[in-house]
């Protein structure tokens, strides 16, 4: 009797356990299924793309060039209208009409009074800082091989910018209101020299233009070459 009841009990226990196991298996399966089909998109690949693109964009911004502008104007020939003539009476002081030419031999400075001569009584006004080579002030680029065997471009530029800056400061002190300068250059003068001459004419400051803050002639008008 006791044996039989034990067997019976063991049997029913096994059956019960099997039932429980089945239930649990179903529950696990259901939980897993819910996890898989939770109704949410898998955003991880999208996130990978986003992170990569942002890093790429940031890297390209970091290496971006520091650029600036120099504002210049073309000469304007406007017919003076009656209204404009009435509104702007002739100024007392004559216009300076400062003109700086980047010549082959040096800077030529001219104004309303005429061309300024150099210390020796001849043009150019500001001579080259070294003796002329082939009748020209050396300003060119040379490509040469450096110590590491790589070719590099070196600029030779012997125009006397310091003397030009000094002369411009003197002119600015005499004509503090004047901001305009007409700039031209000879045919084959490199663009780099022209830009550097503009920098020299402008001085060191860009905000105001009184001559005391370092700003000299910032309103550049480009005109065609003299030769």
């Amino acid at each position: 009797m006791s044996n039989g009841s034990n067997e019976l009990e063991g049997l029913s226990l096994r059956a019960h356990m099997a039932k429980v196991r089945g239930r649990i298996r179903r529950q696990i399966a259901q939980a897993e299924e819910e996890e898989h089909e939770g109704g949410e998109l898998n955003l991880v690949p999208y996130l990978d793309i986003l992170v990569n693109t942002i890093i790429f964009l940031l890297a390209t911004t970091a290496s971006a060039l520091a650029l600036a502008n120099i504002n210049v104007n073309s000469p304007r020939y406007e017919e003076p209208t009656a209204a404009a003539a009435a509104a702007q009476p002739e100024p007392e002081e004559a216009k300076l009409n400062l003109t700086v030419a980047v010549g082959y031999k040096g800077f030529i400075v001219a104004g309303a009074g005429g061309v300024m001569n150099g210390p020796d009584g001849q043009t150019p006004t500001i001579k080259c800082s070294v003796p002329l080579q082939r009748d020209r002030c050396p300003a060119f680029s040379v490509t040469r091989t450096n110590a590491e065997g790589q070719s590099e471009t070196v600029w030779v530029d012997k125009y006397n910018y310091a003397a030009l800056a000094k002369m411009m400061l003197e002119i600015k002190q005499k004509y503090p209101q004047e901001r305009q300068v007409i700039l031209n250059a000879d045919r084959t003068v490199p663009y780099k020299v022209v830009v550097k001459a503009m920098d020299t004419l402008r001085g060191t400051a860009t905000t105001k233009c009184t001559g005391k803050d370092g700003c000299m002639f910032d309103q550049v008008i480009l005109s065609a070459g003299v030769q």
């Binding site: 009990e9 696990i28 939980a31 996130l47 964009l57 504002n71 003068v189 402008r202 480009l222």
Partner: protein, 180 residues
């Protein structure tokens, strides 16, 4: 006998522990991060599409350096490299040894006006004036031109390009330079 039932319940509880709790955080919620990233990406793309600084420098195009502090801004861009004159990405004339060929100039070798450049710039001028008209003067045509030129080019070529631009009513030149 209660023991069998007790045993079963015990086994059930034991197995039950293996089922993950539904409240458990099994993954991070990445949606807010994704929102943020998308906004940053759109911002970057937008700021890139309007930047002037989209020029590639190389042997044929090296900008002069300057200590100017004026920020560059958007305008019709004319690029002069050692090999070509390019307007807004379209090549218009070839450059050889620092000069354009005499045949494309109106007055031959001694002339200033470069014919194909004038045509292209006039087209841009017409387009910008049309925009001004359509926006009711909000986007004014100021005649601004950004000049991107190689530092070694002779002044003669630069002045030829600027003269041509002046003929096409672009009279305000913005020379693009590298900051020192």
């Amino acid at each position: 006998m209660p023991s069998a039932r007790f045993e079963a319940k015990k086994a059930y509880r034991k197995l039950r522990r293996r089922v993950p709790e539904p409240e458990d955080i099994s993954y991070l919620n990445i949606t807010p991060m994704l929102d943020m990233m998308t906004i940053i990406l759109v911002f970057f793309l937008k700021s890139f599409s309007v930047s002037v600084e989209n020029i590639s420098l190389g042997d044929d195009l090296m900008l002069p350096t300057s200590d100017s502090d004026v920020k560059p801004h958007q305008a019709v861009q004319v690029t002069i490299t050692k090999k070509a004159i390019v307007v807004e990405g379209d090549p218009v004339a070839a450059v050889k040894r620092g000069a354009v060929d005499a045949s494309v100039k109106r007055d031959g070798a001694s002339g200033y006006l470069i014919n194909p450049l004038l045509t292209v710039l006039q087209k841009h001028g017409t387009r910008l004036k049309k925009i001004e008209k359509l926006t009711g003067g909000k986007m004014k045509f100021k005649g601004e031109l950004v000049l991107v030129a190689d530092q070694g080019l002779p002044y003669r070529l630069i002045s030829e390009v600027l003269y041509t631009a002046g003929q096409a009513e672009f009279g305000k030149y913005r020379l693009l330079v590298l900051k020192k």
